[in-house]
Symmetry: C2
């Protein structure tokens, strides 16, 4: 029997910070239908770094970033736990409920959904940053089977009592990998750009499809914006682990991303 | 067939604020066994008002209390959502996981677990304070049947997209009432006192048992501390709705509260 489809959608960038854009995005997420008009199984993964930085500034907790990754000291962990697992996660869930989408918001500690360990690095101490060990796919499946949409905050735990801050893109990717034994998983990274662009300043230059050979060529010709490379590398890791399709595109075009009518599709074939 | 027992335990007062006391309490909560040594079905409801007040002070958001109830303006709602549903809820869950107790932390918005409406009051505007309409008992049951302990934060929603701040004692009581068609519910209010005291300054004067006639007598003789009266009134409301037993006592004696070897038991018979 063919596996049922599961959409794992990361929303990030400036969508979370913008009340109007977030509300419009969530309306679309709530209404997502498959080709035959049925509601679809779906997981939403959110970031929220800018709101965390804002609160850190208000509380005068200095923030340190190394290669775009936040150094998570104890005070910063408290802030991201409050902002991601509290404020953003619960507001998203409440808005989805208002849009007739029964949703449940979870951190990785809840029902041991995402177990991680404190990042070990030869030269940089990332503090309470977590690298993922395991996703509790069977439990997420029981929720999806009750027609719940799952909303994941980028907070994990080590099963020894320590919460950990984990990159939301990584949460989306590892959840996609963890779920693909049970579902046909489509992983969607939605943000404020229309997709992977040939010219970072021109939204009309979106590349509709990237396959491995073309990707190698684009990289060799330095035609891809450096910030996009980790996202695409991760997409191929996901595809090689059994994820069916990875799509990168504009959160405002969510329905089109689902039907591959917009954004950049990354595939192995 | 006899209904299975369910323990609904509110933890409040100074336990939440004290890392050591909280950790010791959660160890006991994680290990709770019934008389025959089997793990028990359990729901933990937590407050956290003092930590919210502390953060409000740091952020210079003035706090207003009327009759011990917080006036929840928009900024305060943001703070309590962060502190209750984020920081406290997720830390409790992580500590329970470390104690081999698989727990899941929820707000009332998650899976529509507790639906409420904005409080309507003739003279006082409580702001975003929620009075409870309905507890989603069947969903909580599905989680309990998966041997999950449930940790409830005192945040609800109105199903129209608005989160609401709801008193944790009320959450415990309404959850107890909502669950008693499905379980034999024992409701336990645990805090820093040993129970209902005849002399508020003497912990040895705990009243082991209160029945309606004795309660009327204690109130007539003004022998009960005023702050305790709403708790006991609520206990009788719960009992009259089908809750089996209500116990009030010291969080540090949790095992004894379960077996009625400590604290004050409130019963109708």
């Amino acid at each position: 029997m063919a596996k049922e489809k599961l959409y794992i959608i990361k929303v990030g960038g400036n969508i979370i910070d913008d009340e109007k854009k977030l509300s419009s995005f969530l309306k679309k997420f709530a209404a997502l239908k498959s080709g035959d008009g049925k509601p679809v199984k779906k997981i939403l993964v959110h970031g929220g770094g800018k709101l965390a930085t804002k609160l850190a500034n208000e509380l005068k907790v200095p923030q340190q970033l190394v290669d775009g990754r936040r150094i998570t000291d104890a005070e910063t962990l408290k802030i991201v736990t409050m902002v991601y697992a509290g404020y953003i996660n619960k507001n998203i869930v409440a808005i989805l409920q208002a849009n007739h989408c029964n949703a449940i918001g979870l951190s990785g500690a809840d029902a041991n959904v995402i177990r991680a360990h404190k990042r070990i690095h030869a030269t940089i101490d990332y503090g309470f940053a977590g690298d993922i060990d395991e996703v509790n796919a069977p439990f997420l499946q029981t929720l999806l089977e009750q027609d719940l949409a799952i909303v994941l905050a980028p907070i994990t735990h080590d099963q020894k009592g320590q919460l950990l801050n984990t990159n939301a893109d990584t949460i989306a990717q590892e959840t996609a990998r963890g779920m693909c034994a049970l579902f046909e998983v489509n992983l969607i990274y939605s943000f404020e750009k229309t997709g992977v662009l040939l010219d970072a300043n021109d939204e009309s230059t979106v590349i509709p499809s990237i396959k491995p050979t073309y990707y190698a060529q684009l990289k060799a010709e330095k035609k891809i914006f450096a910030g996009m490379i980790p996202k695409i590398d991760n997409a191929f890791v996901a595809l090689n682990s059994g994820v069916k399709q990875v799509t990168i595109g504009n959160a405002e075009e969510l329905e089109k991303l689902i039907t591959h009518a917009a954004g950049t599709s990354i595939t192995n074939e």
